[in-house]
Symmetry: C2
Subunit: 589 residues, 2 copies
Amino acid sequence: MSFPRRSNTCGELRPENSGEKVVLNGWISTVRDMGGLIFIDLRDRYGITQLVIHPELQPELAARSKELKQEFVIWAKGTARMRENPNQRIPTGLIEILIDEFGILNTAELPPFEISDDIETNEELRLKYRYLDLRRPILQKNFIVRNNVYQVVHSYFADQNFLEIETPVLMKSTPEGARDYLVPSRIHKGKFYALPQSPQLYKQILMMSGFDRYMQIVKCFRDEDLRSDRQPEFTQIDVEMSFVDREDLQTVIEGFFARLWKEQLGVQIQTPFLRMSYHDAMENYGSDKPDLRFEMKIKTISEIADKTEFKVFSDTAEAGGTIALINAKGCGNYSRKQLDELTEFAKKYGAKGLSWIKFVDGQVNSPIAKFLSEENIAYLRSTAEVEEGDLLLIAADAWTRCYTILGALRLEIARRTGIFEKVKNTYSFHWVVDFPMFEYDAEENRYIAMHHPFTSPMDEDLHLLDSAPDKARAKAYDIILNGAEVGGGSIRIHSNDTQQKIFKLLGMSEEETELKFGFLLDALKFGAPPHGGIALGLDRITMMLTGTDNIRDVIAFPKTTSGLSLMDGCPSLVDDKQLNELHINIVKD
Amino acid sequence: MSFPRRSNTCGELRPENSGEKVVLNGWISTVRDMGGLIFIDLRDRYGITQLVIHPELQPELAARSKELKQEFVIWAKGTARMRENPNQRIPTGLIEILIDEFGILNTAELPPFEISDDIETNEELRLKYRYLDLRRPILQKNFIVRNNVYQVVHSYFADQNFLEIETPVLMKSTPEGARDYLVPSRIHKGKFYALPQSPQLYKQILMMSGFDRYMQIVKCFRDEDLRSDRQPEFTQIDVEMSFVDREDLQTVIEGFFARLWKEQLGVQIQTPFLRMSYHDAMENYGSDKPDLRFEMKIKTISEIADKTEFKVFSDTAEAGGTIALINAKGCGNYSRKQLDELTEFAKKYGAKGLSWIKFVDGQVNSPIAKFLSEENIAYLRSTAEVEEGDLLLIAADAWTRCYTILGALRLEIARRTGIFEKVKNTYSFHWVVDFPMFEYDAEENRYIAMHHPFTSPMDEDLHLLDSAPDKARAKAYDIILNGAEVGGGSIRIHSNDTQQKIFKLLGMSEEETELKFGFLLDALKFGAPPHGGIALGLDRITMMLTGTDNIRDVIAFPKTTSGLSLMDGCPSLVDDKQLNELHINIVKD
C-alpha cells in the first residue's frame, strides 16, 4: 500500500506553521459533525491535531468522512491555519488543518473500551486488548518515561567508563532462595538450563576477567507466587566495579539518581545521600527500608518495665524483649473502633496486643492507665514529646518484632492522617548499610545469607565468623527511595578462603559447593580483584518517576499475578513432538 | 579489605605525569629481575604500566617482591618518571613508576595458559577458564568494540525518535521453522512458555499500540543444531516503524551503519546502498547474499544449448533448466587434481558434474572441447570476456541450483586466488530486495514463507496470491555486508484479510491460525497502521568490526556447538523437587 507519508507528526504543528501544506498520518480520536463544520481529532504518539472539513465547500469530502470512525487509521492532506476556538490545554491547540484530501489506511471495529485516560475498565479486559490499552495517552507517556530512563542509564554509565556486557540467559540452575525457571535441554537429555534470577556470578566473573566496570540493563526471572507488585520477569540495572569499596560505588550510584531525577523531573537531589545502619533504621523507623519523608520516630522505652506494674511490660523485659512506641500526632481523638482497627493491623505483624494512651482534654486516657504512675506518664510525655491531642501506640515484643510492628503502624498512621498525601511529590533517597551477614532460619535450622552468599563480611567482623557469625555485619547496602528499596548491592568476597567459609556457615557440604559454585571458587584462585556492585530495579524506578503504584503500567506486556499473558494466552499447550524432542513428559495426576 | 585505591589506571600515565605521586591497582603481567633493577608490568583493562624497584635502594621492597607472580593482584604507590628505555609500542611506554610501597590484594595460582594474544591453547580449555581467556588484550578489545556498538545503537536510534521498549522473554510458543526453547509453567500444569526466536509479533503489536518507532537490543533463542557460527542465544538490534515504506526504513538503517563505521573504524560509507533484486543477485552472483567486493559475475549461456551437440546442455535446456558459467581469471593453469577438487566442491551444492574449459598457451583445453564448435568458443570467449590463462567453469542445472553452484564456486575461486585477502579491509554494503513470498517445500508438500508469514506482498503482486502465489514477491529486504547477511526485514501485513489469506496459503487451518495467531488477527481489526521493520545481527556486526570469524570471540560467555557452557557446566541436572514442582518427568529410555 502506498500512501502520502506525513510531513509532520500530530504533536508538531504550531502557529508558525500556519499556511503550510501538510500531510498527517494517525488514528482518529473523535469525529464531531457540527453541521457547518466537521472536526476530526487525529492522534499519534506525539500528540493530537484537529482536522477540519467544510461540508459546504467540500461536499464530497464531507460525504466520504461519514464512514470515518474512532480508531480508523488515515492520512490527510491540507493546510495548517489558526483555530478560531483555540484549545490551550494541548501544545497543538492553536492550529488546525483544513483538509482537502484524505484516505483510509485501515478501518477499525468499535473498541471494547474507550481510548482515554479516565476509563474504569477492568484490568483483565485492558490486558487482553493491550494494543488498545497502550494507545491511552497515560500509558504512552509511561513508556516514554521508561525510554528516558534507559537513555540516562546508557549515557551516565558510559560517561563513567562502564562497559555494557551481556551475560547469558541460558545459565546454570543454582537456586538459593527463590525458584528458578528451567529450560530443558534437547541435546543433553535430562539436563536443564535456568533463567537468571540475577547475573550475579557472571558479573563477578567479569571483574575477575579484568573488565573493571560492567553494566547491563538485564531481564531477571523468579518463579515465585506473584504479589501484585511483582512480575515473573523484571528488569535490573546491573552494575559491578573493581578496586572499590562501598563509598566508591555509592558515589557512582548517587550520581546516577541525581542525573535521572534532574533530567526527567527537573528535581535537584542532594548528594551524598544519608547513610543509616540497619540497626538504626530498625530502632528509629521499624523498617530496613524506612520512609524518611516524615519523622514520627520510634522511641524505645524498655526502661519503663522496671518502674511499672504492667505485666506485659515486665514480662517482655524479663524475656529480653523491647518496649517501644510511636506518637501518632493529633490522633488522640481516635474512636474505640479506630483503635481496634489499629490493634488488628498490629496483629498482622505478629503483635499479641497493642497498648495505647490518648492525651485529650488534659486527661490521660488508656486501658493501662491504672498501671502507670505520675512518673511513668511524665517519662512518656517527655520521651515521646507529647502534646495535647496525641496518641501513643506502644508495642512490647522481641526486638525485631517490636520494631517491625511499630514500623508498620508508623506507615499506617501516615496513611490515615494524610501525611503521604502531603509528601507526595517529594523524594527522599538514602542508604541502609551494615546489615547482618546472616539471619537464622528456624524452619530450616540453619543460617541463611541476608543479602546473598557472595557478600563480603566487614573487615572488623571477620573474626566473628568463627565465634559469633550472627553478630557479623556485611558490606551490603540498600538504596531506599520514599520507603521502597530501589536497589541493593554489596562488596563481594574476593578471597577463596572466605568464600569457602561462608558456604560452610550456610550449611552447604563441600560436594554441593563444588557442584554449584566450583567454577566461582576456581576463579577466585587466579587473581580476583576486590570488587562490588549493585542491582537497581528499573521497573520500580520507572514507577516512582511516573507516579504509578501498578507495575503493569510500566511493562509493555505484563503477566497477571498467576503468570498469564492475557493478550496472547501464554503459557499454552505445546505439541507432543516438542516434548518428545526435549525428553520430558507431563506428570499424570 | 581496605587498600590504597588507584589514582590512575594502568593505561593513563604519560610523560607529563612525570614526577607525580601515583597509586596503581592491577594484575601482574610479568616480573623481570634484572639484578640491578626489578621490573613489574602491571595490567588492567586500560593498559600496561611498568613498575620499578631498585634492590639497592629498597632492599626490603625487593625482598618482598620475590613472592610476586603472574596474575597476582596488587596495589603499588610510587612516583612516575621517564623511562631510560622507552617502549614506543604502547601509549604508556615512555614512563614508569618507581615504587616505594606495594601490597598484595590477591594471589594467583599459575594459570593453565598464558594471558597473551598469541596463544595456541585449545578453545575448550580457554572456555573452561573463560575469566582468564577474557583477560587477553585481544578479547578485552573485542568487548570494548561491542560496547561501542551498543552506544552507537542507543544514541543513533534515540536521535531518530525511536523508543526503547522491552518485550517479554517468557512468551507464547508458535514455532514456525526453528525449534523453540520451552519453559514449563509451575502454576499452569502442562503448559509452557517459549523463549523468543524474535520479538516479531510484539513489535508489530507495539506499532498497533501507536508507539510509532520502536527499538530494542534483544536476546533471541533458537534450539537448533548449532553450526560453528551460531549460538543458542544471540543478540538482535530490533527495529520497527509505522507509516513507512521500504525506502524510509532502509534510509534509517543506512544512516546507522554509516555512523557506526565512521565512529568505530573511521571509515566513510557511501549511502544510499545499492539495491539489488533477489533475481539479479542469483543470476549475477549465485547467492541471495552476494559479496560485491569483487566482480567475477556469472554469465548465463543457456542459448548455447541449441548450438552444440553436448547432451548435458541440451537435456538441461529441454528440462527448462539453466546453463551458466563463471570465469576464474588466471586459473587456466589449474591441475587435474585442482579441477577434480572444484568438481567435488560443486557436488556438495547438488551438481551432477562440472564442465571446465582452460584457455592456455593459445589452446582451448576441455573435456567437452569436442562438442564445441568454433562459433561456440567465440561465443563463450566474448560472453565471459576470456583472456589468455582463464578457466571457465560451467554449470547446467535447474535455475536455483545452477546459480547456487556457481555462486559457491565464485567464492571458492576468490578464496583460492587470494581475492579475499586483497579485499580484506574493505566494506561493501548493499540490499537484496524483491524476494519471492514463498518457496515450495517439497517434503512438506506446501508453501513456506521465504521471510516470515507476516511479510507484506508487493502491491502489484497482490493479485497473484490467488492465481500464482509462487510468482508473488514480498516487501522484504536483507542487508548484506561483504557477503554476509547482517540483517533482514520487511514491510508487514497490516490488513486482517491479507494476513488470513497468507496463513491459508501456508496451509494453516482456521483452528490452528486462531490458536497461534488469533491475537494478531484481532489486533489487525482495530486500526493497525502500515508498518515495517528489521532485525540486525549484533553479534555478526561486532565480528565484522573486530575482524574475527569466531562468534565466541564476541560473546562473553558463549556455548559450544552442543550448547554447553564449559565454565559453569550448564545445562546440568536439577533436583527432583524442582521437576515435581513443574509437573514434569524425564522420559525413561
